[in-house]
Each structure stands twice: as structure tokens, then as C-alpha cells.
Symmetry: C2
Subunit: 144 residues, 2 copies
């Protein structure tokens, strides 16, 4: 994921003790949706972000229940920063906004596919996508 933009002022949700399998922080997310989420130990689901028309995969970031609620109700992609432990709205500082076109949940509730209209590069490095580092695939002595 890219380096977060500036935090949202007053964005810290009330800290509540982690419930087993439940959200880590208080949230206004529709309980029917929340019940379908299967979270990491720190209360997050992976959000795969793609450009809505080309299908290009731009980045992966993380959402807790409240970040998903804000994304669905504001139309602006909003994430939880694992390193900074706060919410951030993509583009708030950089201007590289993500306008949400659709959001899909996967079959077992641990990942979201967020289709956006990405303004400018998605990655803080200036690359369009964060996935610009290829790893070597070497099978049975051959390179792929």
C-alpha cells in the first residue's frame, strides 16, 4: 500500500477491546455487512483497489469496519493505517483521490475489491501502481 496521506481530523474512533472475530474499533458499519467480515488478528480486511475501467490493480490497503463504512457512505476510499494506527482518506494530502465506483466482498469475507476512479498515481513513489517490483519465478531450473 502507499504511504498514507494526512490523517482525517478527529478520525480516531473510540478504542474498544478486541472481540474475538469482531471489530477492533467502534463502527457505524451496517451490522449485516459487519457480520460477514472475517478479520485479521488486528481487526482488518484487505482492500484490493483497481481502476474501474481498465481493471488495473493499483494497490492493497487495509480497512476496519469503520473505514469500510466511510468508504461506502462517502464515496471516497478510506483506509486504516497499520503503521500510524489511524484512518486516512486517499488523496487528502496528495490530491491523488480515489472516487469509489463499486465495492465487492469476497466469498469468505476477508477481502474487498474496491473499483475506483484513480486521480494520478496510486503509489506514493509516483508509480501508477504499487506493484512495480517483480519477484523471480524460477521453476525446475527455468526462469519464467
Amino acid at each position: 500500500m502507499p504511504v498514507p496521506d494526512a490523517p482525517v481530523t478527529g478520525a480516531h474512533a473510540e478504542q474498544t477491546p478486541p472481540a474475538a472475530g469482531g471489530p477492533t474499533r467502534a463502527s457505524r458499519l451496517d451490522p449485516a455487512i459487519a457480520a460477514r467480515l472475517r478479520r485479521t488478528p488486528d481487526g482488518l480486511v484487505a482492500a484490493v483497489v483497481r481502476q474501474h475501467d481498465t481493471g488495473e490493480v493499483l494497490m492493497v490497503a487495509w480497512m476496519d469496519d469503520e473505514a469500510l463504512h466511510r468508504t461506502l457512505t462517502t464515496g471516497r476510499a478510506t483506509y486504516w493505517s497499520r503503521s500510524r494506527q489511524e484512518y486516512w482518506v486517499k488523496g487528502a494530502t496528495s490530491g491523488h483521490h480515489q472516487y469509489v465506483r463499486s465495492v465487492a466482498l469476497d466469498c469468505d469475507g476477508d477481502a474487498l475489491l474496491v473499483s475506483v476512479d484513480q486521480v494520478g498515481p496510486a503509489c506514493h513513489t509516483g508509480h501508477r501502481t504499487c506493484f512495480f517490483t517483480e519477484l523471480p519465478v524460477t521453476v525446475a531450473g527455468e526462469s519464467a
Copy 2:
């Protein structure tokens, strides 16, 4: 992610105590790659899987260091099952193999983009993709 196929026989790596920021289980992954990973508290990175030619996003699964090592060196997508706590090779039981064409790491090391040639449906439900559940995006009183 889909329901895992049958586990790989003898696939359990030696259990080692989790190191802060390090891998949870023993692995043969290239240390130079391992050093770039930024893992969840349970030692995993998110693997976004897409069809290599169409770019369709098929599923998200999870890899620890060893699963990534096996993926890179066997050319068969191999994951860590969070629910079953074991490795699984996609398609081993279902026949819905994923032949790996390329793997890219994102800019901050917490997600992989795995481009595959997917045989049949990626999802255990029979859908081509696991992301078939749309969530409602409702902005300022309008539905998107």
C-alpha cells in the same frame, strides 16, 4: 479467498516462535525477499490473484514466507490457510489449478500480485471470481 483444496502432505513447516516483524514459520525463502515483507500479526501477506491475460481479479489468499517460496519455485500458487493452519496448493483437489506467470511485490511489502493462468473457476462456489457480492455504495443520499 476460496475454501482450500486438500493440504499438501508433509507440508507443515517447523513451528518456530513468532519473531517481531519476522516470519512465523521456518522458510526457505530468499532472505533478500523475506527482508522486504511486512506481515500481519500472524505472519502473512495478502496475495491478490488475477488472470494474467484479462487482468480479472479472481481471489485473495494469504502467504507466509514459505508459501511464497513454494509459489516462486514450483510455479503453482501455494497459500497458507488461516482456518486450517496449513499449506494448500490451489487446484490440488479441485483441479482448478493456478499456473503462475509472474509475481510482484508492492511498494511496502505487505501485498503480492500473483498473475496466473486459472483453470476453471477460482472460487469454491463455482464462480469464476470470489468477488461476486456487491456492497451498496450510497453517497449523500444517492445510490452508486
